[in-house]
Symmetry: C2
């Protein structure tokens, strides 16, 4: 590589002081427009690049956003799409994504604490928020910038920025789709009550049936597995259900072994592979909003407090199973 | 948070100079054992943590390993498992994973160049190596530490460390499995010739049939889609094939619409969902080896030049489609 261009080289080339170059790079609003343009031209001509370490020492900013990498046991998740969107959106704003793994909330907090000491990320993106989630309050108490992908379930007064997908709106559109196909006895296969995401998805189904004056009693809880989804579908069809809205593609995959009129949630590759109608989350958009809310806070820009996105129903005509 | 403990606090507490503390943290071999223990005790007592920026200024090390986040169009990939393994293994060695996105090799090199200027990663993990891959030579020419997940296809003399999965051994075990079930006319559905990974997977199938004196002519190339997989399966069964080894789960999913004796590659969530027998790559192990080879080079430890792992056949009895 060519020899490193220093801030002194830029200053000499633009005929300004090193402090002015630093101001242009770190507090451009204090520099006159003409000077700013001259310095930026010198930066470009010389190919000056700010060393992360030097910049961090000077500005206290690492330009790193930290996020936990998620996994699920059945691999039927779409977190990789969110992460890809986050990486691309962060880069467009001059930030990079730092990954960490953690087995549970407690381990995640310990890891965040360690990262703060070692890498000093400028902000954090928390995913999979849930009732009694200690992570957001831990960060809030320390006044650390963060955004959550997921609402502050059970803590609606939490003042932090968040982005989420409207699960109830999703299952409402799924239920309306099945009503449009002539179904009247539409069941719901969910997770155990008490999960914010699961209860929200169930609410959209039940309110839609209630609005039509139809029975919203055909529902069962599962552990989220395809096996329990299949068993629940068998019981609900035994009780007269002709169509089922499901809390996840995993559950829906099991239900699909019992009857064809099934809608899943998340539009995973598995849904596409087996021809399952499902609700797709706008994950790239959600990731972009997360970056926007977080970098907005970091740069003092006023930004929306939260963003609620609507999932899209992906209708597939011929389930294969 | 408590006020930050500085290197000066540690020096005072251990009754040594700041240079000695720095030596203990960065070049422990130059410090006497007794002094080293006293300093480390002070570090622990005071809860001193090295700031990344300060350490990087001092040591020239960022403790960051950079890797591109991959996506595939059909979402039927297992990169997220590799990335999870990489994140965990890196953390165990005191490194963190920095993500970047890039659309092609040229964009990836530009992004790496930019990262070098901005974040100075200590090393790079390249994935999806292929014939004529310019990335490895770009890094090698600059003497930057890196490891590839994937062999240096077409450049066997490349001296860089690599980790790969033995695709030919995988399709050999798939072919032997089908032979054991009584099949004699076993076909192969691949990608277009010229792909290192695809040609390797085909080679294991053809050499196994050749060793048994059986016909290895039942083979077709596809674009990797399920649709072309299905069409190829139809043609190959028309030519007498009773079983098929496939280059990917995506292709196998299409073939499964035509006949039940199909083996895929990658053991994706889709394979599990539809009951497809498939070859699973040991991705956590591969990621751990990548970190080991790279951190070995970074710390001057002698390390293996490369590691070739064997995939496992995951046999599923009842395909659903």
């Amino acid at each position: 590589m060519a020899e490193k261009v220093t801030i002194a080289d830029v200053a000499r080339h633009a005929n300004v002081s090193r402090q002015t170059v630093s101001n242009v790079l770190n507090s451009p609003e204090v520099v006159k427009e003409g000077t700013r343009q001259r310095v930026l031209a010198a930066v470009e001509t010389l190919g000056y690049r700010v060393s992360a370490a030097a910049r961090q020492m000077r500005t206290g900013r690492s330009r790193l956003l930290a996020v936990r990498i998620e996994t699920t046991q059945d691999g039927m998740n779409v977190f990789d799409r969110f992460l890809h969107g986050l990486t691309e959106s962060a880069a467009r704003s001059g930030y990079r994504v730092l990954l960490y793994a953690a087995g549970d909330d407690r381990a995640e907090i310990a890891t965040i604490d360690q990262l703060l000491g070692e890498f000093e990320p400028d902000g954090f993106v928390l995913t999979s928020t849930h009732h009694g989630d200690p992570r957001a309050s831990w960060l809030a108490e320390r006044d650390l910038p963060f955004v959550t992908f997921g609402r502050p379930w059970g803590a609606p007064a939490a003042g932090h920025p968040w982005v989420d997908v409207d699960g109830a709106a999703g299952t409402e559109s799924a239920t309306r789709h099945l009503l449009g196909e002539g179904h009247r006895r539409i069941g719901f296969i969910g997770w155990e009550a008490g999960s914010g995401v699961g209860d929200d998805r169930k609410a959209g189904w039940s309110r839609t049936l209630a609005a039509e004056g139809l029975d919203a009693g055909l529902t069962l809880e599962t552990d989220g597995s395809s096996a329990q989804g299949q068993a629940a579908a068998r019981e609900l069809t035994g009780r007269g259900a002709t169509a089922l809205v499901c809390v996840s593609d995993s559950v829906a995959l099991g239900a699909l072994q019992v009857l064809p009129a099934v809608v899943g949630f998340d539009d995973t590759p598995v849904a596409a592979a087996v021809g399952l109608t499902s609700l797709g989350q706008p994950l790239a958009e959600a990731a972009a909003h997360c970056v926007d809310l977080l970098t907005g806070r970091l740069s003092g820009r006023p930004a929306a407090a939260h963003v609620l996105l609507t999932p899209s129903l992906v209708i597939r005509k011929e389930p294969r199973s």
